[in-house]
Amino acid sequence: GAGVSQSPRYKVAKRGQDVALRCDPISGHVSLFWYQQALGQGPEFLTYFQNEAQLDKSGLPSDRFFAERPEGSVSTLKIQRTQQEDSAVYLCASSLAFAGVGNTIYFGEGSWLTVV
């Protein structure tokens, strides 16, 4: 596609509910990233995929967060038993090359999650 596509754009979840957020990166992009952006803050790194391999998941806040990219294209970020502190915008980004110094990354519009 022309850009990084994310769905749903908006999600309201009840506390304790599981959610799944989808990211469709730019076609052919090797690298895929998930970031979490709280209101009024900058994006914070969650996890990184190179093709289907999850090379870094050090930013995932807890074991309730899980991400996958089974075929090296579409990725899903799953949050189990959502808590109010999970409310944030979840941004997916992709990059053409293997992640390295100074690559340009392209962000999707984000999935706005509100946990009530």
């Binding site: 790194f45 990184y48 110094v101 340009t104």
Partner: protein
């Protein structure tokens, strides 16, 4: 861990006035990137600086990388209402991209 701070946090300017945001890192930066995020939108890449003391211009925007590579600035000349948004710097020295705290710019017509 590394911290990337930006000042000011907010800035309101009259249309036509200049605007500057400053980015300071607690550690030396390899490269720095700047992004603009419109209200309700997503971060969009503006530019990357690599060399110590580097200055780059994009129309009314001037980006500078400090000599010690621990700070950077973005200056907008004669702001327009289309400049509204939050400007983030990011340490792009590793793939994790440490983003700054951002400066939210409002331009009053």
């Amino acid at each position: 861990g590394q911290q990337v701070m930006q000042i000011p946090q907010y800035q309101h300017v009259q249309e036509g006035e200049d605007f500057t945001t400053y980015c300071n890192s607690s550690t030396t930066l390899s490269n720095i990137q700047w992004y603009k995020q419109r209200p309700g939108g997503h971060p969009v890449f503006l530019i990357q600086l690599v060399k110590s003391g580097e200055v780059k211009k994009q129309k009314r925007l001037t980006f500078q990388f400090g000599e010690a590579k621990k700070n950077s600035s973005l200056h907008i000349t004669a702001t327009q209402t289309t400049d509204v948004g939050t400007y983030f710097c990011a340490d792009s020295g590793t793939y994790k991209y440490i983003f700054g705290t951002g400066t939210r710019l409002k331009v009053l017509a």
